[in-house]
Symmetry: C2
Subunit: 356 residues, 2 copies
DNA sequence: AATTATTTGTGCGTATGTATC
DNA sequence: AGATACATACGCACAAATAAT
């Protein structure tokens, strides 16, 4: 049997959640509430006290009891932004982090950081932790964005509590939340068109299947082929997952499936380097026999033996934009924060024109 | 006029502060307290309620009211560790971060991160922020560790509040706080001895002056020379600061000062590469004319034109150890957390034996 | 500018319920 | 089973702050 004061607590809390009692609004007086619920004034006070401790209500002697104003009110801003990313060691992430950190500290915010290693369970823990602890906003690179997410309820909960969320690098297509990312479809399109312009027609593609970026880059790749009137050959398309790569991706499969291609579009620099070694094992030279293009433009791409032509990732700029837009969102929840960065190809020496 | 219940609140709070009421101890019953202070039981309850909300007391129905048992400090554990580092983009830091993050999340902690860019003022802000917000412990790479720090009072404040502090990479020699770092003196010693064993005697050194690591590596360098009976030539020693490097360190000075050296010990890979280009501009070859050894063993050292022989930095291991030891310190403030990692030279091709 | 009604804050007395020892 | 302690609940009175008249 729920105590009377708890019944009242729940009644008020529900009404605040449903926006029926809006921020800043004045509650009925203690006497009135007591009459409404046929309880004593002391009981009403006990209920109100719980919600004051919770930070949902604020009592002003002689005036009344008010629903706490979220913006510019007493509901103290924590000045902390939660950042959840997939990988620490990722080359791209250190650039993004640099950008975010500059913007956040300049604006007096500090950053709470967690990594998911692209595991759903870690993401769940990180989200729960941030929500419990309380952050003013979340910047998240979702885990396994290419697959349906079981953490959607946690994201919803955060939104209901008024915590703005901004995705970066990738996003869940099923959630209508803002994101800041490289335009991955355009990147796939541009890279594939680049190969087509160099005369290639048998163009293979290697894509990551559990990240939504992979799907989008694949979509761009397919569109480029269709636009050029080239039939899509499923044998030339290879999908891999986070776990595949960790297990030591077998290059045997690569050699076999890609043997007839004259060019390969690779999901990122890391997999591109794997592809290059696989090709070398098969006795093929890059770029003379097979051209390779990738996405990321990391140090790896610059410094490896055959410097890779690659679609640049706007790391630092992306981090800056993400942080700025989240801060906007904190001020104004209706702010349109989505940004897609157009791709930009950095030419090096891993692609050459096809000559038969 | 203070309300009666507040008088009681203060009375109890004082007694807890003075250890007169100890952790876990049972308080007098509400009725008794009421009689003692000649107030009603309701008033006593109101006072107790304030302290329960404060986390100082805990009421158990049917049993009594108890002083909250707490772990070595004023506040309940937040399960958050603050990490303050100098640079985001630093190659070493991403490895350290990876190690720390793994340990912290495995133990249910989250990480609040801030960067100082090696500026004292940023460090001050970061520290103040962490202390205000409340963290269970701090892992700090101090800024300008080679110079006297004006932030010492903030560190003291944190310690007084019972927040353990662990330094990493470097430390303030004036503060008796634990640290986890590469043994920089031993690194300087080992690297210089390596050059001496290769027959070099005119060995220059380039050191960073505002980081304590620079001083220690210099100390190791000097010791190696003395041990080998080589007189220290001040003309062969070059000092630079964070700001010098940011301004675009002039290679002219380097060329001039180092012209007579046959080998150079460099503070890190970054400055070593600067030195290599300076030598090249002066028409000297590395390693044929001048040998170069550095500290860091970054990707840069591996991938640059003349791969650098370098003292390896135990990045990930250091991060793991730092996080583990901080967690130990949180449990047991008397834990000896200091670790100095022995240096370990990775041989590449930037050093060759002296032949006249 | 002073008054008054309203609203919350403080404080007490009492009664009953329920968990613990 | 009984004594004790906290939990819930009601009623009343007055103080202090606020807002409207």
């Amino acid at each position: 049997m729920l105590p009377k004061y708890m019944v009242l607590v729940n009644w008020i809390r529900d009404r605040i959640k449903n926006q029926e009692f809006k921020y800043g609004e004045k509650l009925a007086s203690e006497k009135e509430l007591g009459q409404m619920f046929s309880v004593s004034r002391q009981t009403v006070r006990q209920a109100i006290n719980v919600l004051v401790q919770d930070g949902l209500l604020e009592s002003r002697q002689g005036s009344g009891t008010y629903v706490t104003r979220r913006i510019a009110g007493k509901h103290s801003p924590k000045m902390v932004v939660g950042v959840i990313s997939t990988y620490v060691n990722d080359y791209i992430f250190s650039g993004i982090l640099r950008g975010m950190e500059n913007v956040l500290t300049e604006n007096g915010y500090s950053m709470q950081l967690a990594f998911t290693h692209n595991h759903i369970e870690s993401e769940k823990n990180a989200l729960a932790n941030m929500l419990t602890r309380g952050v003013d906003g979340l910047i998240v690179e979702p885990a396994k964005s290419g697959l349906p997410s079981p953490n959607i309820d946690l994201y919803q909960e955060a939104l209901q509590e008024g915590t703005p969320i901004l995705f970066f690098n990738t996003y869940y297509s099923s959630l209508a939340l803002p994101h800041v990312a490289l335009d991955d479809a355009a990147a796939g399109l541009a890279a594939t068109e680049y190969l087509i312009r160099a005369g290639h027609r048998r163009i293979a593609g290697i894509f990551k299947l559990d990240d939504y970026q992979g799907r989008l880059r694949y979509a761009g790749y397919v569109r480029a082929l269709i636009n050029a009137g080239i039939a899509l050959d499923d044998n030339l398309v290879l999908w891999y997952s986070t776990e595949d790569f960790a297990d030591g991706f077998s290059t045997g499969k690569m050699r076999q499936r890609l043997s007839s291609a004259t060019a390969i579009f690779c999901y990122n620099d890391q997999i591109a380097l794997k592809a290059v070694s696989a090709l070398r094992e098969a006795g093929k030279r890059v770029p003379e026999d097979v051209s390779v293009i990738s996405v990321e433009n990391s140090d790896l791409a610059k410094l490896c033996e055959v410097p890779l032509t690659s679609v640049a990732h706007p790391m630092e700029e992306l981090g800056i934009t993400a942080a700025q837009n989240l801060l906007h969102l904190i001020q104004d929840p209706s702010f349109k924060a989505t940004v897609n960065f157009p791709p930009h190809i950095v030419e090096r020496s891993s692609v050459c024109p096809l000559h038969d």
